[in-house]
């Protein structure tokens, strides 16, 4: 080894002097950072635009316009026999209540002193929702003693009137609209000033049932929320025990061979199967083969269970794997059986991970629409609130995302606003579930 064979050493230079190559590398790094920031900001911009659009379009659904009308419940019309017999009172249909509503509105308008070109009660009725008669009839049937009195009702305004006060319907929009005229809008303004028409929080949107095509102002998400709730009960009750049992067996007990490998690959594949496929499977297996009722949350829940299972199995196995083998070895070393080691030591430590996975799986199932299309949960379905546990599982019902999809399809633009409002509620649910998952992970997760 001689010094002569070494090349001439480079000119000694301080590391602090930046040469061209270092510059290049620094620039590359700066560029990469800029790309990263750009990517993150594009994502954020999209998120803001999305959330903004949802809020702007949907927030209107949480406000509703009401018309305060004192209605004289005329005994001559509502109870001809005068015996206050509930069967007699029920015989008067909502069509029989319409004249009462029309007259009451006419009198209210005249009493408020608002002058209008509309002179007939029938014309004025366009201000009110078609649900008014039903609302009064329900009250009368529940309290027959009210007949003969004048009762102040807070009736829903028609969707166009509601839209006008919210700024959704413009004056120039209604010129060719047969449902309402500019004269109605003028009258709306006057009645709004007189305090007859008021805007208030729309509790019925959160608690109510779906409504028909002709009265979007009455539609609510409540019943389909219950549908979603019962579906989630089924999903939770089935997929959690089955998923956890399957993963414990696969992870802790099953021998490692071709067969278990095959199962493992298939579970990962199932997790990636498009959800509509599970819908077709649910239709064939639960409705056509097992003859479970159409449109029932039970069937929806079973179908979504199929979809959620792989998610839960994968996350459970991951959290079981993350428990260090030393825990198992220690338990086995002091004489625990394999099952004791798993259930007393491994499973409790894996629990936070399992729960997180389950909640994420449930959130996914909650927002899923496609499989529900095939098992008959879209349409005019969510109309009757279930009156018990069995009816909650078995009576036809919709689910939140399916209801939103249905509203978005309907002709009246007022339903479009409801659909956006429904998205807000759905998002609140999903965010709550995700936050619970994060809190669980943060609080209980152990690191080794």
């Amino acid at each position: 080894m001689t010094d002569a064979s070494l090349p001439e050493p480079r000119h000694a230079r301080s590391l602090k002097d930046v040469d061209a190559r270092t510059n290049r590398r620094n620039r590359a790094e700066a560029r990469f950072r800029a790309y990263g920031i750009a990517a993150v900001s594009i994502g954020l911009v999209f998120l803001v635009v999305l959330l903004g659009a949802i809020l702007i379009n949907g927030v209107g659904a949480f406000q509703q316009t009401f018309v305060n009308v004192p209605v004289y419940l005329d005994p001559a019309k509502l109870d001809k026999n005068g015996e206050r017999n509930i069967e007699d009172i029920k015989k008067v249909s909502t069509f029989g209540y319409n004249p009462l509503v029309e007259n009451a509105l006419l009198e209210t308008v005249q009493a408020s002193g608002a002058d209008t070109e509309l002179d007939s009660a029938a014309e004025m009725k366009k201000l009110l929702s078609a649900s008014a008669a039903a609302q009064i009839r329900d009250t009368v049937i529940a309290n027959p003693e009210l007949i003969g009195q004048t009762v102040e009702f807070r009736l829903l305004a028609a969707s166009r009137v509601d839209g006008y006060l919210k700024g959704r319907v413009k004056r120039e929009d209604v010129t060719r609209d047969k449902n309402i005229d500019v004269a109605h809008l003028d009258l709306t303004d006057k009645l709004h000033d007189a305090g007859v028409i008021t805007k208030g929080f729309n509790l019925a949107f959160i608690t109510g049932a779906d409504a028909s095509e002709s009265r979007p102002e009455q539609a609510g998400l409540g019943v389909s929320m219950l549908g979603s709730f019962f579906m989630m009960l089924v999903v939770l009750g089935l997929s959690l025990p089955i998923g956890v049992a399957a993963s414990i067996y696969l992870e802790e007990f099953a021998p490692q061979n071709r067969f278990t490998d095959l199962i493992e690959v298939n579970i990962s594949n199932l997790a990636a199967v498009p959800s509509i496929v599970f819908g077709i499977l649910g239709l064939a297996a639960f409705i056509q083969f097992a003859h479970l009722p159409q449109s029932a949350p039970l069937v929806g829940g079973l179908t979504l269970t199929l979809m959620t299972l792989p998610t839960i199995v994968i996350s459970t196995r991951a959290s079981l794997k993350s428990v260090p083998p030393s825990i198992r070895d220690a338990a086995l070393g002091v004489g625990a059986s394999k099952m004791q080691a798993v259930f007393h030591h491994v499973l409790p430590m894996a629990m936070p991970g399992i729960l997180t996975g389950t909640i994420i799986g449930l959130a996914q199932a909650l927002g899923e629409t496609a499989p529900l299309l095939l098992i008959g949960m879209v349409g005019y379905i969510a109309t009757n609130a279930p009156d018990g546990l069995a009816s909650g599982f078995l009576d036809p019902n919709s689910a939140m995302p399916a209801q939103i999809f249905e509203w978005a399809k309907r002709a009246d633009p007022a339903y479009y606003e409801r659909a956006w409002g429904g998205i807000i509620i759905l998002l609140v649910f999903l965010m709550t579930m995700n936050i619970i998952a994060i809190i669980l992970r943060r609080r209980f997760e152990r690191r080794w």
Partner: protein
């Protein structure tokens, strides 16, 4: 062993509920999305006025609804199929094979099909069936000869129409509306332009001519919309030159975004449709499974309520929404009261 406990109890619950499913107390309806709005209005009023639960109405198209209707008799099958066209022979046969023999056909009224474009878009104000044939057919008659459709703009064949690219959004083949569109517009246009005659002279047999007349070009100028009218509206909203096919009721709910064109010089309104002047209209139906009457509570009551004067009459809520009420409603009412099936004559 709490997992075993939970899973056994859940399985038990499922088993119990499956057997409880035997008793259904609500009417189940499926079918045409055109009839859905009307059916939902009736179902809502029915639920309000009767002690029966509100019927469940699913959509999905006339053909899909009739297919499910014909799956058999029993609690697990639907009671009523809504349809925006009459049931076909083929479907009656399929029904019969599955034991669905007694079907009551109920005509609820008429519905107009309108041709509308963006309100601020080009001036599509008047159409003839021939225009639609020229715009959409794969083969048209030009200078006395049948040629592959050479037209790319509306003005190419009718100078009164705007000189914009043809972009037509028509209902997909699973919709009953498509059939009416083919028969009343395309077939008529085929005849009017003389293309039909030319095809007959070229030696095609009658069925082949009819099929050729109702075919639609596949080069992207005509788009089949398999979803609902809202999807068509969204397409028109984003394409100022687009022309779409809508139901009259849908158009009337969206007059702030759409403008309608006349067909053969007649403007579509409930009056012109009722009078029979507007050419593109069709009857709407629903079909009742007679075997379910008396088994499913409220089925007959729902049907009777649907066609009652208060509901389906000229001043009822259905007419308010856009249905053209049937002048022969009294006959329909009598038919349901007697439970007259299709075979027994109307």
């Amino acid at each position: 062993m709490s997992f075993t406990k939970i899973s056994t109890s859940v399985l038990a619950l499922v088993a119990v509920s499956a057997s409880a499913a035997a008793a259904r107390d609500n009417v189940q309806v499926a079918g045409s999305s055109t009839v859905l709005p009307y059916a939902s209005i009736v179902a809502e009023a029915f639920g309000e006025n009767f002690d029966f639960p509100t019927p469940v109405i699913e959509s999905g198209g006339s053909s899909a609804g009739l297919k499910r209707f014909c799956e058999g008799v029993g609690e697990n099958t639907i009671d009523i199929a809504n349809a925006s066209r009459a049931i076909r022979e083929k479907e009656i046969k399929a029904c019969g094979e599955n034991g669905v023999n007694d079907i009551i056909e109920v005509r609820i009224g008429y519905d107009g099909i309108v041709f509308a474009s963006q309100i601020d878009g080009p001036a599509f104000t008047a159409f003839e069936p021939a225009d639609w044939y020229n715009a959409l057919a794969p083969k048209v008659l030009k200078d006395g000869e049948l040629v592959d459709n050479p037209y790319s703009q509306w003005a190419d064949f009718n100078g009164d129409l705007p000189a914009v690219e043809i972009a037509a959004f028509i209902p997909g083949t699973k919709h009953g509306t498509r059939e009416v569109f083919e028969e009343k517009v395309l077939l008529q246009g085929c005849e009017d332009t003389g293309a039909m005659k030319a095809m007959e002279e070229s030696g095609m047999d009658e069925d082949a001519v009819e099929d050729a007349c109702m075919a639609v070009r596949t080069d992207g100028k005509s788009v089949d919309i398999d979803g609902d009218y809202t999807e068509t509206l969204a397409r028109i909203d984003s394409n100022a030159d687009g022309v779409g096919v809508f139901g009259l009721a849908f158009y009337e709910n969206n007059t702030d975004k759409l403008k309608v064109a006349t067909m053969s010089g007649v403007e579509p309104t409930t009056e012109t449709i009722a009078a029979g002047d507007y050419p593109v209209s069709r009857p709407l139906f629903f079909y009742i499974k007679k075997a379910h009457i008396g088994v499913i509570p409220g089925l007959k009551e729902y049907a009777e309520f649907f066609v009652s004067d208060e509901v389906a009459g000229p001043s009822g809520p259905l007419a308010n929404y856009g249905l053209v009420s049937d002048p022969e409603l009294a006959d329909t009412q009598a038919m349901i009261a007697d439970e007259k099936t299709m075979g027994e004559g109307m």
